[in-house]
Amino acid sequence: MIGRIVSFGRRGCEVLEALGRAGQFLAQSAVGIPSREGWYLWLRQVHFVGVLSLAIVLVSGLFIGMVLALQGYTLLVDFGAEQALGQMVALSLLRELSPVVAALLFAGRAGSALTAEIGLMKATEQLTSMEMIGVDPLRRVVAPRLWAGFVALPVLTVGFSVVGIYGGYLVGVEWLGVFEGSYWGNMQGSVDFIGDVGNGMVKSVVFALVVTWIAVFQGYDLVPTSEGISRATTRTVVYSSLAVLGLDFVLTALMFGGFS
């Protein structure tokens, strides 16, 4: 019994320690003057986590928009309110689905890759070698990846929304025959640029920070064995998905919960 309590306490201390390390890690790698070389490193990472994730994000966005329109239509047509379809598709995408689903896809597509890459660098002692020749691995390896994720995810989220709304248009207007003018008109009447698009962007920036932070920290902090890398990659996806969904509830409550 005593042993259990002791081990519980030890686990608690370990969690707190890891959190402290993660915070220190973020602070150390996020600052730093970007040089010309650093700018190029950043560009390469944006290419990797952003441009190469575009396909999966856009295709998912299209299908989610189409499904939303289909489901929304069958529900709304019972009330004779299928004209509100555009409003429903746009608001659910902009406020919730785009930031969350794009962040989840991003965690799976880019976050896990970041963890594995940095983890393998650590396991093959590339990070230590960098320190030996006087290059700060936080600035050289971690900072460009952190900032790239920070920029790429909001852009991906915008793409997700645009393609999703277009997917809703395809199903709702072209297929199910909702009047085109009311699809766009109701959308424009109800979507507020600051309140809906802006808050969605705030969400996606927060998710970008959390997901890339978890990914690079898990890579940097793992046990440098092949098993350690596989565990850290799994942890990245699990932790960032949970963090995104949990934070989404908190942010939604703050933005749309009427506490202002």
Binding site: E37, Y40, L43, R44, V46, H47, G50, V51, L54, A90, L94, V151, A152, P154, V155, V158, G159, S161, V162, I165, W184, M187, Q188, G189, V191, D192, F193, D196, V197
Partner: protein
């Protein structure tokens, strides 16, 4: 380090696509129109009951949208609702002083909006004036109550 032109181009296009997407969300989805502030003028109207009228509701004339509600507050002197309307500048000086503002409902359960009807007074309303002749929102419960009490008294 090896520099790849296609990669740089890809990132550039990616960022450009993001900006264009945001622009699309602004213009097409939230219907933002970049009108200069000089293109509108304001009128006020006091209503005894605004029902569920909300800021950003439409203001129409003969069914055509000519402006929107920008602010609703309680007028503490009269205990009624003061609604501030923002109308297209082309109507400035063309609405007669006895213009009627009424709160209408789109459909039976739809959103509420304001309808303006012009009167015959030669004087016109200017920026900041108050519309005197107003008609409150139709509140369904009050109508039913009236109907029931009429039935009882008959």
């Amino acid at each position: 380090m090896k520099r790849s032109k296609t990669m740089e181009l890809g990132v550039g296009l990616f960022m450009l696509a993001g900006i264009l997407g945001l622009l699309f969300l602004g213009m097409r989805v939230s219907g933002m129109a970049f009108t200069a502030p000089g293109d509108t003028f304001r009128l006020e109207a006091n209503f005894a009951n605004i029902g569920s009228l909300k800021p950003r509701a439409r203001v129409t004339m003969a069914g055509v949208t000519v402006g929107r509600v920008i602010d609703i507050e309680l007028d503490a002197d009269w205990y009624d609702a003061r609604v501030v309307l923002e109308l297209d500048a082309e109507l400035e000086g063309r609405l007669s002083r006895d213009t009627t503002a009424s709160i209408l409902t789109a459909g039976l359960l739809g959103e509420q909006y304001i309808g303006l009807t012009v009167g015959g007074d030669p004087d016109t309303l200017a920026d900041g004036d108050t519309i005197r002749d107003t008609q409150s929102a139709m509140v369904l419960e009050e109508l039913i109550q009236q109907f029931v009490s009429n039935m009882v008294s008959d």
